[in-house]
Symmetry: C2
Subunit: 166 residues, 2 copies
DNA sequence: GTCGGGCTACTCGGATATTGGCTGTCCGAGTCTGACTGG
DNA sequence: CCAGTCAGACTCGGACAGCCAATATCCGAGTAGCCCGAC
């Protein structure tokens, strides 16, 4: 089982948005091209982030995308869940109640032992992601820049005029 | 995103097998019926556990399934990975190297910050499951038995003659 | 009575359809920009 | 010179196909047990 590829896209996109100065916005098409992603499906992922209140979309001719909240108030878990949420990896279908030897459903109040362990693992996974904010990610990324990328990015943004609102 | 339903089946099946006395075996068909699962696809899940070395299959007329190893030596992670393994939930496709502003691939030795956090979350998930053995699960289950199920199970097994090899 | 052989029934294992959801694409509604026109 | 108006182009958002993997099913190869017959 694997997370949707849109999760990776959304994380990189949010990281890029969080690095832009306040008030700036960039069209989804340009953001996709910058990451080498096909824009059509990428915009669908951004839609989900918008409806989740993480990303803000500005319409119109010089519109684009921007973070809706400060990076400090956005956890990676929120991003991931907005893009690929099924309420946890493990879903207990209560098969212990389904066999020919099951008791009355009245007796199955507490979750079964298997579900408890699996949900504990799910919680551990979510915990790591909820404890990391987008600002943490941004800080770590700026600490280990790849040589030349910042300059190339700035030049590319200037050349294409993708960033607006400054 | 969600784990395959076969994971739940496999966990319950292994728990049931681990509760049987040594030397006993039960056909996959009976094990599926006991859990209220359609046998056809269930057997495919059991196949994977067999090829992973977790479950042993005895062929022939009075054949069936049994644990291949003691329950103490089987972690839940092994069961889950045998049934639904994709090498972790998050897969980094290195999109940071794919845009028009990427540097030479020589400079991307270390994993990117996003992948690092996601892999850390994956590790936390796997850790919980690797620290729980099937014997732990069996112990916890016997501590909180549902009233009447043990008796009904024993009667059903005797009635259908599903268990062999005693 | 005992041993051997063959038959039967039952098991697992893999080859084969089917379905649901993620992936990928497109076009329409809405809106901001910018220029043009009139005062 | 300035304000109002209008056309234009570009944006997001949702509706519409395609494809892959998980699901579901079936049948065949193989084996252990059991019955029968011969010695």
């Amino acid at each position: 089982m694997q997370l949707s590829e849109t999760v990776e896209w959304g994380l990189h996109a949010c990281l890029a948005l969080a690095m832009m100065p306040d008030g700036a916005r960039i069209p989804a098409r340009a953001l996709a091209e910058y990451h080498g992603i096909k824009p059509s499906y990428f915009s669908k992922a951004m839609q989900r982030l918008v409806s989740a209140g993480i990303v803000r979309s500005i319409e119109g001719r010089s519109g684009g995308l921007a973070m809706a909240r400060p990076a400090e108030e956005v956890s990676l878990l929120q991003i991931v869940q907005a893009l690929d949420d099924s309420g946890g990896f493990f879903r207990c279908t209560e098969i212990r109640q389904k066999g020919p030897c099951a008791a009355a459903s009245k007796h199955y109040r507490a979750p079964c032992t298997i579900a408890r362990v699996m949900h504990k693992a799910d919680a551990a996974w979510r915990r790591v992601l909820s404890e990391t904010s987008l600002a943490d990610l941004r800080h770590a990324t700026t600490q280990e820049l790849i040589p030349g990328v910042s300059e190339a990015t700035e030049a590319w943004l200037k050349e294409t005029g993708a960033v607006r609102g400054l």
